[in-house]
């Protein structure tokens, strides 16, 4: 017996719109709960750091935000490439839905980094490799958003920004290493594959918040892609038949 599954059923905006709407609560609620748990562990369970005292606690938000800001760019470029190569409209919509969230995380990462840097290094900002490349990453997000916003035809906007995202993702490692050779002051990463130098409660808090951030990203992107679908398909019959547009 052959089981016929239509793998591409949900790659059409029409069907994905309903699916996304049903999925959002399954990501949004766990995200809220895990945020609360992670912050509780971070503030009340994790011990005070021997060297950095209380100020280190900002890293429970800083580290997940930095990780996500980089991952989201790659995922965004991936979706953009899919949209460019296979001309799947939904992929391009996903790419444009991811961009503002990625920019937000890059900004949070810079902001919390500045708050951490003031007590630790005595300066809000230093021209260190990782700070600088995070700043450049924010610029890349802003360029992507600006290019998409300034082209009126959505198809051209999708394809042009997709090309930009691909060029950007080829450039990211080059930028990263050139900035690193240029100057390095940032502390090395404390999480290594051969055991870590961190207390267990600190790890628990950080990973809980990381998972919460992932779930938040998925929920927010699904909600945003629903709005984009409605906007782009506003002249179609199925959108006019929807209960929420009546």
């Amino acid at each position: 017996m052959r089981l016929a599954i239509n793998w591409f059923k949900y790659s059409a905006p029409t069907t994905f719109y309903g699916l996304a709407g049903k999925l959002i609560p399954f990501f949004a609620w766990p995200a809220a709960i895990l945020f609360a748990v992670g912050l509780y562990i971070g503030f009340f369970v994790a011990p005070t750091d021997a060297v950095q005292s209380e100020a280190y606690r900002i890293m429970f938000i800083h580290v997940p935000a930095s990780i996500l800001s980089m991952f989201i760019y790659l995922i965004m470029a991936g979706y953009a490439a899919l949209g460019l190569i296979f001309k799947t409209r939904l992929s391009s919509m996903m790419a444009s839905a991811l961009a503002p969230t990625g920019a937000l995380f890059a900004f949070i990462s810079l902001w919390t980094g500045a708050l951490w840097g003031k007590p630790m290094w005595g300066a809000w900002w230093v021209w260190d490799a990782r700070l600088t490349s995070e700043l450049i990453l924010l610029f890349l997000y802003l360029g992507f958003i600006a290019l998409q916003a300034s082209i009126e035809d959505p198809r051209r906007a999708d394809r042009a920004s997709a090309l930009l995202a691909i060029v950007g993702s080829v450039n990211v490692p080059i930028i990263y290493y050139s900035v690193q050779w240029w100057n390095t002051l940032h502390q090395g990463s404390s999480i290594k594959f051969s055991g870590t130098s961190m207390h267990v409660a600190m790890q628990q808090s950080m990973f809980t918040i990381l998972v919460a951030c992932w779930l938040y990203v998925i929920a927010v992107v699904l909600a945003r892609v629903r709005s984009i679908i409605l906007e782009r398909e506003s002249n179609t019959q199925w959108v006019k038949d929807l209960a929420e547009t009546k």
Binding site: F139, L142, A146, R156, L163, I174
Partner: protein, 227 residues
């Protein structure tokens, strides 16, 4: 009509663009004057101490070169786009990638090469040593073509858009940072008594990498913008 070889086509496009530019010399001179002016403004802003000027010379010259090259980018395709030449180029059976490469080279000869040639004179204003001046020229010679190549992608993507000039800088400047770092780094290395060869090698690597990929990507970007 006899068949054109790839390099014949390249030469034809370069010659045509240079000829057109020579008919409107003001455009070429604007970039150069802008570069000279920006560089000359820095000592007025930060003060005339020779020690400080010597230290910041390479960075100032590189940033000014970067901005000057941004200034001339929107012109790379826009005239041909407006009078329909670009459309004919895309319809032609010859390789669009090669034509784009020709336009990039012409753009560099008009906006990059003059900066390379005038840079030593401006370097003297900053009290740079002779050895540093040579390295600066060499670094600019390797780096400015990369700026034109990366810029071509931005210029192609923003073709015909409102406010394209500012937008193209927003897109291209972050991508040019490695060139800036190693270009200024080469001069920095000489000043601190080290060898500039590693920085120059990396700039050369960027040039080759960009030479292989950017004309193709810019051609794709033109196709997206023109359809």
């Amino acid at each position: 009509m006899n068949k054109l070889s790839l390099f014949g086509l390249l030469g034809l496009v370069i010659r045509r663009d240079l000829l057109l530019a020579m008919r409107r010399r003001a455009d070429v001179l604007t970039t150069l004057v802008f570069f000279v002016m920006v560089v000359s403004l820095f000592p007025l802003g930060v003060g005339p101490e020779p020690d400080m000027l010597r230290k910041m010379a390479a960075g100032v010259l590189w940033v000014a070169a970067l901005l000057a090259s941004m200034l001339s980018l929107p012109r790379m395709f826009s005239a041909d786009y407006l009078d329909g030449t670009l459309e004919q180029m895309m319809l032609a059976p010859q390789s669009l990638t090669m034509m784009v490469l020709g336009k990039i080279i012409a753009h560099w000869m008009l906006s990059g090469l003059p900066l390379v040639l005038i840079a030593p004179v401006l370097g003297l204003q900053f009290d740079m040593s002779v050895q540093a001046l040579w390295v600066l020229m060499l670094a600019l010679l390797l780096g400015t073509p990369v700026l034109s190549m990366i810029g071509a992608i931005g210029a192609a993507l923003t073709l015909g858009l409102r406010g394209g000039g500012v937008l193209v800088s927003l897109l291209v400047l972050p991508l040019c940072i490695p060139v800036l770092i190693f270009g200024a780094g080469a001069v920095e290395a000489v000043n601190s008594g080290m060898d500039a060869i590693s920085n120059l090698s990396l700039l050369g690597a960027f040039l080759l990498f960009a030479l292989v990929f950017t004309p193709f990507v810019a051609a794709q970007a033109l196709k997206i913008s023109m359809e």
